[in-house]
């Protein structure tokens, strides 16, 4: 009985890889749609799809070769034998489907088509030197002044930033749907919570035109506010923005 089971090891590995593919391609977009209460599915990006599939295949091969016995069982499926009829059928299916699969890959890669290139975007481009040593003037003030700056900053935020970034700073402003790349959700802990105050100062002041090319400034609709807002107003917006989003900026740490 045990021998019969192990003779199909290669098929089990292939089935596991197919299951992984089905999950990533069809199940996970629906699962994320439900979990995140979206109106549309969240397709797995092709880069991740490729990486996860490579790992799935690698995991299967590692499993099939962890002992000599398993490795022999794995390969034995390809050898002719007087096994059950199902094995013979699966062998034939494998010998036909593998070249077909390879052919399909080659065809889909080489067929001419139009698609925008995949961009290797840099999330936090290097802060220019002139912004590196700046300090938010309101962070070190007394509690009253801080509170006032936050309140004023919130008003400025609602005036200038809300249309895109939303009244809750969650990236859901009234204009948000009109952008191909939606405005950033500041409540997400991976965004403004990971950078210092002066980083935001740079981003607000210079906007997308001030981004270096590796950060694909053409993918951002962020305007430059340096001609419309004074420095103090930008610092107040930053105070109000963090408070609205309910997150804290990265703070400079005392060295041990």
């Amino acid at each position: 009985m045990a021998k019969k089971r192990s003779a199909f090891l290669m098929i089990w590995v292939i089935l596991a890889v197919i299951c992984l593919f089905m999950f990533l391609k069809y199940a996970s977009p629906k699962v994320f749609q439900m979990l995140m209460a979206k109106s549309h599915p969240m397709p797995t990006p092709s880069t991740l799809m490729m990486w996860y599939m490579i790992m799935g295949v690698l995991a299967g091969l590692v499993y099939a070769t962890t002992s000599n016995q398993k490795f022999a069982d794995f390969l034995s499926f390809l050898l002719p034998s007087r096994g059950p009829i199902i094995k013979s059928l699966l062998q034939k299916l494998l010998f036909v489907s593998f070249p077909v699969l390879v052919g399909w890959f080659v065809y889909s890669w080489s067929i001419p088509g139009a698609a925008s290139p995949v961009e290797l975007r840099i999330q936090h481009p290097t802060l220019p030197q002139e912004f590196e040593k700046l300090e938010n003037p309101f962070r070190e003030k007394d509690a009253d002044t801080q509170r006032k700056s936050i309140e004023e900053g919130k008003i400025l935020f609602q005036t200038y930033c809300r249309p895109c970034h939303g009244s809750k700073a969650d990236g859901n402003g009234p204009f948000a749907n009109s952008f191909r790349l939606r405005p950033i959700n500041f409540q997400d802990p991976g965004t403004i919570a990971t950078v210092v105050d002066n980083y935001l100062f740079w981003r607000i002041k210079e906007g997308a035109p001030g981004l270096p090319s590796e950060s694909t400034p053409w993918d951002s609709a962020m305007p430059s506010w340096k001609d419309d807002l004074k420095d103090d107003e930008i610092w107040m917006i930053i105070m109000g923005e963090y408070d609205t989003a309910g997150v804290m900026p990265r703070q400079r740490e005392k060295l041990e």
Partner: protein, 726 residues
């Protein structure tokens, strides 16, 4: 004994001379050190440029315009020959900032030479640490094969040492020749340490060669052997000291301290050495060197195994490969913790540099790093699983392998998922958000820390089932005698001290009240873990050690992986200052589990019946290729991390103090970096293979001599039998 006396006499004179030289230099440098006390730093900073103490350095202006490189001034001088003016002459004799290397890019030359030097140095510093340990284990256990292996490690070491020194010399000449102004600054700051470095190098050379060449002489009595082991320990002390010194130079370039930043004036050598990144890099490199040495030795053993002609040879190199992998994995387990500490200190010393590292220009190199680290863990585990095939009785545990593969690959998937994905325009539009959920929840440090801890726990579990494979019926713990009780009790006290003392210290961290509330769950987690560590010890005393281990594993995974994954997100949002304490708590909890479970395992399986023994040499060939892969991966990893550490300074020689105004002051593209690191890896592996081949030339000659002698002096049948078994 006579040989011992001769050795002492012959080394005595040179040793005395070195001590004299060391003392002379030490006293001459005292005058420097007097001025480098912390008090002087505060005073000198206050006094600024008019500080009376300290060494005057060249004045540097951040952001100054690039100076004309030498080739330009040479060209101009040639063009203007015949109309030479006094001004042109002055320009020619003025200070040179940069020189090209025969028309090549100076930075690439320094990059390649320094990486090769560092890789050889890592091997030379890492291997003696475990060579001495193996020698001690062999001596205490009375097993000659350990002694033989430790000597073989040292043989490789002595061959690599000369190459390391030659590359170090070449690096020094390159730096002084190609970057004279920068090296002028470094010399002004670190001159006293450079003399100490040279002296310690003598110390390392003498102890290394003494250690290797006296191996056979210092055998026979306990006193001789311990003297030999002491030489090995001294070798490690000198080597570690050397590394710490050079680390101070390298880390000063990243986080300069002890100088007045605006003028570059040195006010405290102590602070220049003990700069914010010095100790994190020291610890990280110390562990990484052992890991590197282990995997390189493993690959050496694998190559020898593949070429072995006899069963005995195959068995020896199989065992050596196992030890190499064991050392490599042993060091690999704490390495992420040390790396995380270093990363945090980079953020602490400069949040901007931190952002460049993890979110900016270098973020993609960390994805490559994640892939390489994942490959190391998978490769090391794969080797362990294959190794179970040579142990009779391992069949009882092979059922766990599929679960381990699932866990490790799942963790690997999370580990390498970037926060910012490469997306096409269509994909961006379809996702409709900045982040896909996979990258949103898997791409941040909270998730990475959680899964790397789970990979570590899974690797540890692999090792536990490997060592249990040969063990059968155990005797009750209550019959283990005093050693068992003392062992468990000591481990318990150690773990409790670590957990409880850290929990208490967290009560006193100075944070604002609204941030400090985020520390309380960490304290709670530490106390919960302390309770379960006690429970595991208690169950062991009640002869239920395996149950205790299982409970401790489960609780650790729940707290350090699941809970901290979730809590890490909370802390990131509201109180990033608490991340520092969260990561230490996570490390403390995982370490307590590893220590307690390892000690419990040692004592519950002590004196257990052996099931069948280990058949050394009975390993599939692919296991040896796994060892070679591990070596190649760790070499690539070291090349990559070297680039990251150095490149983080961007266009600064010394971050924020001395700007790199050369024409090569740009951050290379990933493709360019890949090509250079690939070249370095190929050069290193080629050189190391050549050096090891040289080291074995003598052995071949010796073996042939022995063979000829045996053949001539014994009847044909015996000679044939000898060669068959050897």
């Amino acid at each position: 004994m006579n040989k011992f006396k001769i050795l002492l006499q012959s080394t005595g004179r040179s040793f005395f001379a070195v001590v004299l030289l060391f003392l002379a230099l030490f006293f001459s440098s005292i005058s420097f050190l007097d001025a480098f006390t912390p008090d002087v730093l505060a005073q000198a900073v206050k006094e600024g440029e008019s500080a009376a103490s300290g060494v005057e350095l060249p004045q540097f202006e951040a952001g100054s315009q690039p100076a004309a490189p030498l080739q330009a001034s040479e060209g101009e001088a040639a063009a203007g020959a015949g109309t030479t003016t006094a001004a042109a002459e002055e320009e020619e004799v003025g200070p040179v900032q940069y020189r090209p290397f025969f028309g090549m890019d100076s930075r690439v030359v320094v990059w390649i030479v320094s990486e090769l030097h560092l890789m050889f140095a890592a091997f030379v510093l890492g291997v003696p640490i475990f060579a001495v340990i193996v020698e001690i284990v062999g001596y205490k256990g009375g097993d000659v094969k350990y002694d033989k292996m430790a000597k073989e490690f040292t043989k490789l070491l002595s061959a690599a040492f000369a190459t390391t020194a030659s590359l170090g010399g070449l690096l020094g000449f390159c730096l002084f020749g190609l970057y004279p102004e920068f090296m002028g600054h470094m010399t002004n700051v670190f001159a006293p340490t450079m003399y100490v470095y040279a002296l310690m190098f003598f110390g390392e050379a003498f102890t290394l060669y003494g250690y290797y060449y006296s191996w056979e002489i210092l055998k026979g009595t306990a006193a001789k052997k311990w003297f030999h082991i002491t030489l090995g320990v001294l070798l490690n002390l000198f080597g570690t000291g050397l590394m710490f010194l050079t680390n101070s130079w390298a880390t000063y370039m990243m986080s300069p301290a002890g100088i007045v930043p605006s003028t570059g004036k040195l006010v405290s050598l102590y602070h220049a050495i003990y700069n914010p990144l010095w100790m994190p890099v020291n610890i990280h490199r110390l562990i990484a060197n052992v890991c590197f040495g282990g995997f390189v030795v493993g690959a050496y053993a694998a190559v020898k195994f593949l070429g072995a002609k006899t069963e005995e040879e195959r068995a020896h190199y199989d065992w050596m490969g196992y030890v190499g992998n064991f050392v490599g994995v042993g060091a690999l387990i704490p390495l992420p913790f040390a790396g995380y500490w270093l990363g945090r200190e980079v953020y602490s010393s400069s949040p901007v540099m931190g952002n460049i590292m993890m979110g900016g220009a270098f973020s993609w190199t960390f994805i490559i790093q994640a892939i390489l680290i994942g490959m190391l863990f998978i490769g090391a585990n794969y080797y362990l699983w294959l190794g179970m095939g040579r142990i009779k009785g391992s069949e009882r545990y092979t059922k766990f392998i599929k679960y381990l593969i699932f866990v490790i690959f799942m963790c690997f998937a999370v580990w390498l998922t970037p926060h910012n994905l490469p997306l096409s325009g269509e994909e961006r539009a379809m996702i409709g958000e900045q982040y896909h959920p996979f990258s949103k929840y898997f791409g941040v440090m909270a998730a990475k820390n959680a899964v790397v801890n789970l990979i570590i726990l899974a690797t540890f579990f692999s090792f536990l089932i490997y060592r249990r494979s040969n063990k059968g019926d155990t005797i009750p713990f209550s019959e283990q005698g005093k050693a068992g009780k003392i062992g468990i009790f000591s481990a318990l006290i150690f773990c409790l001290l670590m957990l409880v003392s850290y929990a208490i210290s967290l009560n006193f961290v100075e944070l604002e009240a609204n941030i400090k509330v985020f520390v309380k769950p960490l304290i709670g987690a530490l106390y919960i873990q302390s309770f379960f560590v006690c429970l595991a010890a208690f169950l062991t005393f009640k002869n239920k050690g395996k149950l205790g281990q299982a409970i401790l594993f489960a609780v650790t995974a729940c707290i350090a992986v699941l809970y901290f994954w979730y809590y890490g997100f909370q802390v990131m949002q509201k109180a990033n200052l608490v991340l520092r304490y969260l990561s230490v708590t996570q490390v403390a909890i995982v370490m307590s589990c590893l220590i307690m479970n390892a000690i419990i395992d040692v004592f519950i399986f002590r004196k257990a019946k052996l099931v069948g023994g280990i058949v050394w040499g009975k390993m599939p060939v692919r296991s040896q290729y796994a060892l070679i892969l591990l070596c190649v991966v760790i070499v690539i990893l070291m090349g990559l991390m070297g680039f990251i550490r150095s490149g983080l300074r961007m266009d600064w020689h010394i971050y924020g103090v001395l700007q790199d105004t050369s024409q090569w002051a740009y951050t290379p593209t990933l493709a360019y970096m890949g090509r250079i690191v690939g070249l370095i890896v190929a050069l290193f592996l080629g050189l190391v293979a050549f050096v090891f081949w040289l080291a074995n030339l003598g052995d071949k000659k010796e073996k042939e001599k022995v063979k000829d002698y045996e053949y001539e002096s014994k009847p044909e049948g015996i000679a044939a039998g000898y060669t068959d078994t050897h």
